[in-house]
């Protein structure tokens, strides 16, 4: 295994910049997830690493070897595809053996390695079958086996779980994570499902519009999104984002929403907000919105839009002026549409972004939660 380094890589198609100066370092044995919405450049990035597309600019290194001009077959990377891309005319055994055969591995060794791989993935009993005779999960495992069998320097995975049904996806997610931990593989994993990234990856790289928005451990990206895009993309349900002006009320800082609501700010948050060039975007996660059925001073009045019980907890969709706000409450919490509910945003976990630049406003020193933005790289959002 080896690390993978991307240095300022660029891929242009005519006037369209699909990947815009992306730099990323994947350590040896690390699981890195590339996430972003469709068309954000994540799959293009993966294909550039695989050598299936030609770089416009920048460098790609595996270990410390520059591989910009190497053919895919000489890069010694293995790839797992969304549709598994198994050779339909070959039996499972021959699918697994194919990459070894192409490299001129002796027959005896091929047989031994195929058996060993099949054992690791518990697919020994499927070796004589054709891909069409396998279930989705089994095909997925064979695809993984074909990547694993030749001991590549790194694994590239292109949405490998998105063709599976929800239940199997959760199961395979756990299997993949386990697989990564057991063999210490370097994995570059592309997904549009931020949940997969958060649950499996050591680090996640959030992309949008071909630009790398933030790169760091999922926890850090979740807690300290560097801009409005990352804030809205990571986490489920999405973070509530409200536009507000910074003002003062009762001698303390406050936010005045475009719909007229007023919410006080703690001194620390007031100082952050003051650094903004104008309006701010307020980000608040569903579990940091406090609910009250009675009016309280400083709380904001909202109307219930709808209530979604999920079993573990209840999501409450609230109408705040023309905007919707999601909050979570106890499993038993219920309300009728248009009931009046008062909300307060938890000051300690309030996210503030400059509405103009959409960048996070830095936490005032040592006041708020004690965490820092750390290594997260902030870049202006594109689009």
């Amino acid at each position: 295994m080896a690390g993978v380094t991307l240095r300022e890589i660029v891929k242009e198609y005519g006037d369209v910049v699909a990947v815009d100066h992306v730099s990323l370092e994947v350590q040896d044995g690390e699981f890195v997830a590339l996430v972003g919405p469709s068309g954000c450049g994540k799959t293009t990035t993966l294909n550039l690493v695989a050598g299936l597309l030609e770089l416009t600019d920048g460098d790609i290194l595996i270990g410390d070897k520059l591989i910009n001009d190497l053919d895919p077959k000489d890069r010694d990377l293995a790839m797992v595809f969304q549709n598994y891309a198994l050779y339909p005319n070959k039996k499972v055994y021959d699918n697994l053996a194919f990459p070894l055969k192409m490299r001129g591995t002796p027959k005896g060794e091929i047989a031994a390695r195929v058996r060993k791989t099949a054992e690791i993935l518990s697919i020994e009993h499927l070796l004589d079958r054709k891909p069409k005779q396998l279930s989705g999960g089994q095909q997925q495992r064979v695809a993984l086996g074909r990547a694993l069998v030749r001991n590549p320097k790194a694994f590239l995975m292109d949405e490998p779980l998105s063709n599976l049904d929800a239940k199997l996806r959760v199961q395979m997610r756990a299997e993949l994570k386990r697989f990564h931990q057991e063999i210490g593989a370097t994995v570059l994993y592309v997904t549009h499902d931020q949940m997969e990234a958060v649950t499996m990856a050591d680090k996640m790289a959030v992309m949008s519009g071909g630009v790398l928005q933030q790169y760091g451990p999922p926890d850090e990206v979740y807690r300290h999104p560097v801009n409005v895009f990352v804030a809205g993309f990571v986490g489920s349900p999405s973070m509530n984002l409200l536009r507000a002006a910074v003002t003062a009320a009762d001698g303390q800082g406050a936010l005045r929403g475009t719909e007229g609501w007023l919410h006080p700010l703690s001194p620390a948050n007031a100082r952050r907000a003051a650094a903004s060039s104008g309006d701010v975007m307020v980000g608040i996660r569903h579990n940091q919105v406090h609910l009250s059925r009675e009016e309280r001073p400083g709380w904001v009045e909202t109307r219930v839009y709808t209530v979604e019980p999920t079993g573990d907890l209840t999501y409450v969709h609230l109408r705040l002026g023309g905007q919707l706000l999601v909050a979570s409450a106890d499993a038993e919490w219920r309300a009728a549409p248009d009931d009046r509910v008062w909300v307060e945003f938890d000051q300690g976990s309030l996210h503030l972004f400059d509405a103009q630049t959409e960048l996070a406003l830095p936490l005032a020193d040592a006041v708020a939660s004690g965490a820092t933005v750390g290594s997260a790289r902030a870049m202006a959002t594109a689009g």
Partner: protein, 320 residues
């Protein structure tokens, strides 16, 4: 396996089986459906069924050209046909023609498909040019090539003579040795675009992800072709070669117009031979027997044809 057992849901009791309606009842119930296909059926019976029956009947008679009489000979026509050396020479020619044309047209057509599938400047024009032989009529093609390759006034022979490349006229159509390769080449020229179109259509459905997987797996261009493209095209290849085979087995126009089966029967094919027996020698009974023999041969090939067309899905069935 506990998982699969847990999934078993209560199953509705099987519906009581209704007695199967009789044939007549079924026809009565679907009378409108039969009415819709009746015109087509009637035409088929008239233009296919009647001639088949008539030909089989006729094949047991001798029909002397000068009289209008039919003389019963039993299987005489058959023994005469199958016993003649000429029949076996023609059969050999026909297979030479069919296998040679099909194989060559396939190889050249496949190559052309691979070339014009790639992106290059002027691809559209090249594709159009390569299609020309396919859209030219057989009659026009036959005459053009006859004039091209004629030994006395042909363009090729004349030009080569003028340039001093050859000293004597190039004899192709009039040479017992060279006539078959020559007519086969013309036929290949006429047929390869068909293969090209069929395989080009197939090539465009080769999954891109499979190609990329093969690249990453270390397969070079040849291995990708052999391990991904060819298996993917298996069905198209089978259908294309079978179609060509059948068409070539039934060829008439090109050979008849270019050589008339000559010289000395050296390019005689089954169909040209039957045409000669029936409409030049006016020996209808013998031509009918000949036709029936061919009909049986074609029928047995049709079996494989239908099997290939319909049985291809067998390996694609998924277990429940």
């Amino acid at each position: 396996m506990a998982l699969s057992r847990a999934r078993v849901l209560p199953v509705a009791p099987p519906r009581a089986r209704r007695p199967r309606p009789g044939l007549f009842a079924s026809i009565v119930r679907h009378w409108a459906d039969y009415l819709y296909v009746a015109p087509a059926l009637l035409v088929m019976v008239l233009v296919i069924g009647y001639p088949v029956v008539y030909t089989v009947y006729l094949s047991f008679f001798e029909t002397p050209p000068r009289s209008g009489d039919w003389v019963w000979t039993g299987v005489g026509n058959y023994t005469e046909t199958l016993g003649s050396a000429r029949f076996w020479d023609t059969t050999r020619n026909t297979f030479y023609w069919t296998v040679g044309s099909t194989a060559l047209a396939f190889v050249i057509g496949f190559g052309a498909a691979l070339v014009v599938q790639r992106q290059f400047v002027g691809r559209g024009i090249v594709r159009a040019i390569l299609l020309i032989p396919y859209v030219i009529s057989h009659v026009a093609a036959a005459y053009v090539w006859r004039w091209f390759l004629h030994s006395d006034y042909g363009l090729v022979s004349g030009t080569l003579l003028d340039w001093g490349v050859i000293e004597r006229p190039l004899v192709l159509f009039d040479s017992i040795r060279w006539v078959m390769p020559t007519v086969i080449l013309v036929n290949v020229w006429k047929e390869f675009p068909f293969v090209m179109i069929m395989l080009l259509a197939g090539l465009q459905t080769v999954p891109d992800q499979l190609m990329r997987a093969a690249k990453v797996d270390g397969a070079g261009a040849w291995n990708r072709f052999w391990h991904v493209t060819v298996p993917h095209l298996k069905g198209v290849i089978l259908i294309t070669t079978l179609l060509l085979f059948v068409v070539n087995l039934n060829s008439f126009t090109l050979v008849y117009l270019m050589t008339g089966g000559g010289p000395a029967g050296a390019s005689q094919l089954w169909i040209t031979e039957i045409y000669n027996i029936a409409f030049r020698s006016l020996r209808y009974g013998e031509a009918s027997a000949y036709s029936v023999v061919l009909f049986l041969i074609m029928l047995s090939m049709g079996y494989f044809y239908v099997k290939a067309l319909t049985g291809g899905g067998k390996s694609q069935r998924r277990p429940a």
